[in-house]
């Protein structure tokens, strides 16, 4: 509905009562749980965080109801395409009794009032937003409705028990009188928030908006260029900045050979040296970019005491895979059940295979930017894309020495994120923007060019996984072992934490539901030289490829059909059996092929499953070979997130996850040579275009189990389903991605 930049027009705190907002102490940030670059195993000391009962009860911090009845909701979660703002309007609106179409949803500022997730975090990631906040956000809507009812009782002079609501109105049926929410909001939001224990939530059978394909609130603005992102923002007196980063992280600025000439270039305001970068500030970004690229910098090798992860001059991503493959240990077990060694020793058949994946970039379409302004009162305002406002503000406080209360952080719409906008040291532009704003005494908007983004983006990790498995006399797997030489993103960002396994390193190898009695999943921790980050579906994006492709190898070796084998291994798991059968039916009944399609192409199908982020997914892929490359015709995907809020958005998210899944399967990879990325733009880093998108068929299975995530779970099973289909069609078992490295006959 309205995603325009109200953050600039409407100072936060003005129309909203934020007086009870307490601020996270910077130390509290380190107390959040593992999984997002935070120290593993840190005690969860939430001195300033509301306990579960209090979460999401500070109604005036979230809601403003305008005289026309429009509801402005400050969302704890960032909108980056996943539809969470629409979902929040549905959830809150359902209990508030207000049509989601009347909502304007914007991202809330930092502050512990907005810590609403059951795990005590506030991030937008891990496919957590809806599933972790659902009961709390429903209760928030219900609390607000109770306050409106109470205000209505006072205004109409009737007992509250005689009042009810219709969407957007408090109604006194006995007298036929009613008042719009907009007329009551002033009084209502000044009232004490009722005891949450007195609140009754709506019976799900009466839902009008939850569970329905409610239209996205941002569809029109995003179809007409009206939606504004960080990169679009402008404030009075603002200058533009561009940077040139050191070719390898860790290098520092020695000297600028032509600083005077660059300073004399048209439009240039000033030239600056920053840690590992040079910057030009100008009246126009184009002038800044052109000038900064003209600077001839003498870069110095990283000092021994460099605080960043210095990139070696001889780093090669291909050679690094060989290095990982050569690692012998020690390995730490994440799962170890039964007697793997014994089962392997006594096996009728042993199967071994080694798999690996590739580095990938986020390649979100909006290049990173940050707009920083120091106000006359000494406060700092920053507008920037982010998935974790409290962590970002705490980091700004640390870097600037400012009290967090003096830092206002605005979180505009994200032009895609996929894990890109977490707090990554050296991969976010805001420290530079803040430094430049301070240096020039004016607001500065810094945009990283696409080339600078590819240079400093954090990478999805690589792993080399060695599998061993044992088959019994019937050809059924009785033991499986996977040892992954890798570094997980969390341990890369936060630092290795003793003997603890980083769950984001092994998820997708660990946590499998197949009834294989002997299993061992282990990691050889190998600290690498690249900056790593989270990429949509994180560890599952690689590990489910490895596991599910190897499982097909076991099926073939044992003379089993891969679909039937999975059903057999899930025979005691009714939820996953239902799901696997659902995708079989969705695809018109499991048939592996190969067969000749109507257009004359030879095609085959593959199947794979994944269970990330609290949801479960099963995929069937249909492929053929066209000019030596894989063409994916259809993806059938059944997904069980327990229960859902918006089926249309779920289907869109499945489509999006399939696209990214196909992209990493078919064609994308970040290659490093001599310590530098080969690709600095989309010309050498191709991402999936429309012409290579598959038709996607979605079946949502609502098992009624605990609600799971939806943004990431549909992705991981795509790659193995495609690889399994390719293997059956061509006889070539591919054990690495992307498939564009191979030619198929």
């Amino acid at each position: 509905m309205n995603t325009r930049n109200a953050v600039l027009d409407t100072p936060l705190g003005e129309p909203i009562n934020l007086s009870r907002r307490r601020f996270l102490a910077s130390t509290a940030v380190g107390a959040l749980v593992i999984g997002f670059g935070l120290p593993l195993g840190t005690p969860r000391a939430y001195a300033a965080t509301p306990n579960a009962a209090e979460r999401g009860t500070q109604v005036p911090a979230f809601l403003e109801i305008r005289p026309d009845g429009t509801v402005r909701l400050l969302s704890p979660f960032m909108e980056g395409g996943q539809g969470t703002h629409t979902a929040m309007a549905q959830i809150v609106g359902e209990e508030l009794d207000a049509d989601p179409a009347t909502f304007i949803v914007e991202a809330a500022p930092p502050g512990d009032a907005y810590v609403v997730m059951e795990n005590g975090m506030r991030i937008t990631g891990g496919s957590m937003s809806v599933r972790m906040s659902y009961p709390t956000m429903r209760r928030l809507g219900a609390l607000a409705r109770a306050m409106l009812l109470q205000a209505g009782a006072e205004q109409l002079g009737v007992p509250v028990a005689q009042l009810t609501t219709t969407p957007g109105r408090v109604v006194h049926a006995a007298s036929g009188r009613s008042l719009g929410y907009g007329e009551l909001a002033g009084r209502a939001l000044d009232m004490p928030v009722p005891d949450p224990a007195t609140i009754t939530l709506r019976d799900p059978s009466q839902f009008r908006w939850i569970g329905k394909p409610v239209k996205r609130l941002d569809a029109y603005d995003k179809s007409t260029g009206k939606a504004q992102y960080s990169i679009d923002l402008k404030v009075d007196g603002m200058l533009h900045a561009a940077v040139q980063h050191a070719p390898r992280l860790g290098m520092t600025v020695g000297s600028l050979r032509n600083q005077a000439q660059v300073e004399a270039m048209k439009g240039v305001h000033s030239v600056h040296q920053l840690p590992g970068a040079v910057a030009v500030v100008a009246e126009r970004w184009w002038h800044a970019k052109r000038a900064v690229e003209a600077i001839q910098v003498e870069w110095l090798e990283a000092a021994a005491d460099s605080t960043v992860r210095a990139m070696p001059a001889d780093f090669s991503s291909d050679k690094y895979r060989d290095f990982l493959a050569a690692q012998q240990g020690p390995a730490r077990d994440d799962e170890n059940e039964g007697d793997v060694a014994g089962a392997l020793a006594n096996a009728k058949t042993q199967v071994e295979a080694t798999y690996h994946n590739q580095y990938v970039n986020h390649a979100q379409l909006e290049p990173p930017s940050a707009l920083a302004r120091f106000n006359p009162d000494g406060t700092l305002e920053v507008w920037l894309p982010n998935q974790a406002p409290d962590m970002f503000r705490a980091d700004m406080a640390k870097r600037t020495g400012l009290d967090p209360a003096k830092i206002t952080l605005h979180s505009p719409l994200l032009g895609g994120f996929f894990g890109r906008h977490f707090l990554y040291d050296s991969a976010n532009p805001y420290p530079q923007a803040i430094a430049l704003a301070k240096a020039v005494g004016r607001p500065v908007k810094l945009i990283w060019s696409r080339e600078e983004e590819f240079l400093r983006d954090v990478l999805r990790p690589v792993a080399v996984v060695k599998f061993r498995a044992a088959l019994d006399a019937q050809g059924l797997p009785v033991a499986i072992e996977a040892v992954s030489a890798t570094e997980g993103p969390s341990e890369a960002i936060a630092g290795k934490q003793g003997d603890k396994i980083d769950p984001t390193a092994l998820e997708g190898l660990s946590g499998k539901s197949y009834a294989i009695p002997n299993k061992r999943i282990a990691q050889i921790y190998v600290k690498g030289p690249t900056m790593l980050g989270y990429w949509r579906s994180v560890g599952n994006s690689l590990n489910d490829f490895f596991y599910e492709a190897f499982l097909d190898e076991l099926a073939d070796k044992g003379g089993q059909d891969p679909y039937e084998l999975r059903l057999h291994l899930l025979r005691d798991n009714p939820r996953l059996t239902t799901l696997l059968k659902a995708v079989g039916e969705l695809s018109g009944g499991w048939k592996r092929g190969p067969y000749t399609a109507e257009d004359g192409s030879r095609r085959a199908r593959g199947v794979a499953m994944a269970s990330p982020f609290g949801s479960h997914a099963a995929v069937v892929a249909e492929v053929s070979i066209e000019n030596g490359q894989v063409k994916v015709h259809h993806i059938w995907e059944a997904i069980d997130p327990g229960s859902i809020v918006n089926p249309a958005i779920v289907e869109a998210q499945v489509n999006g996850a399939v696209a990214l899944g196909l992209s990493q399967t078919l064609l994308e990879e970040a290659v490093y040579v001599d310590g530098k990325p080969r690709a600095r733009n989309y010309d050498l880093y191709p991402i999936l275009p429309l012409s290579r998108m598959a038709q996607v068929h979605v079946k949502i299975v609502e098992s009624g189990e605990k609600m799971g995530g939806i943004g990431e779970p549909p992705l991981p099973a795509v790659a193995p389903a495609v690889a399994n289909a390719v293997a059956h069609l061509t006889g070539q078992r591919i054990r690495s991605l992307p498939l564009s490295r191979y030619t198929f006959a």
């Binding site: 980056g80 395409g81 996943q82 539809g83 239209k215 996205r216 941002d218 569809a219 029109y220 603005d221 995003k222 179809s223 007409t224 260029g225 009206k226 939606a227 504004q228 992102y229 990169i231 679009d232 402008k234 533009h240 048209k266 126009r284 970004w285 184009w286 390649a363 979100q364 379409l365 909006e366 290049p367 719409l413 994200l414 032009g415 895609g416 994120f417 996929f418 945009i447 060019s449 696409r450 080339e451 249309a648 869109a652 489509n655 999006g656 996850a657 399939v658 696209a659 990214l660 733009n681 989309y682 010309d683 991402i687 999936l688 275009p689 429309l690 012409s691 998108m693 038709q695 996607v696």
Partner: protein, 155 residues
């Protein structure tokens, strides 16, 4: 130099080789046209010049003097563009939305030249990148638009 953008004339003080994109965004404040790659790879910067889709990030501003430029801000003033926007909303195409200005421009240009495009023609014309993976929704929306003229004729 003088530019004609969205049926209005603008006096612009820019170097001749400045990409049209940055004049539109920074000088004129029309931020609906997006910067994605600066290399004519992604299409987020697509605008119409005399009805043809052009990548404004690599188009020197001097080259479009004397031509009619249309940006996303005025797309609904165009009959075809208005239908494209309506179809984009109807089919709920956008996710993050960052590429969608360019997608709408590309679809508008396609339908102006080819009112009922085939699948192959859609694939050839709709080459703008979308990282959110809205491609099937785009394809459906364009197909939907393609059949509308026939409906109107028979009505």
């Amino acid at each position: 130099m003088q530019l004609r953008i969205n049926q209005k004339s603008y006096e612009v003080d820019a170097d001749a080789d400045t990409p049209l994109l940055w004049v539109i965004r920074d000088d004129l404040g029309l931020t609906g046209t997006k910067y994605g790659c600066g290399l004519a790879q992604c299409g987020a910067c697509s605008v119409l010049v005399d009805g043809n889709v052009v990548r404004s990030c690599v188009t020197p501003v001097a080259g479009v003097v004397g031509h009619e430029i249309t940006t996303i801000e005025a797309i609904e003033a165009d009959d075809v563009g208005k239908r494209v926007v309506a179809a984009w909303v109807e089919h709920q195409v956008a996710q993050c939305g960052y590429c969608q200005s360019g997608q709408v421009m590309a679809a508008t240009a396609l339908l102006k030249h080819t009112p009922a495009p085939s699948d192959a023609q859609i694939e050839a014309a709709m080459i703008n990148l979308c990282r959110c993976g809205t491609y099937n929704a785009i394809r459906t929306a364009v197909h939907d638009l393609a059949v509308q003229p026939a409906r109107q004729e028979s009505a």
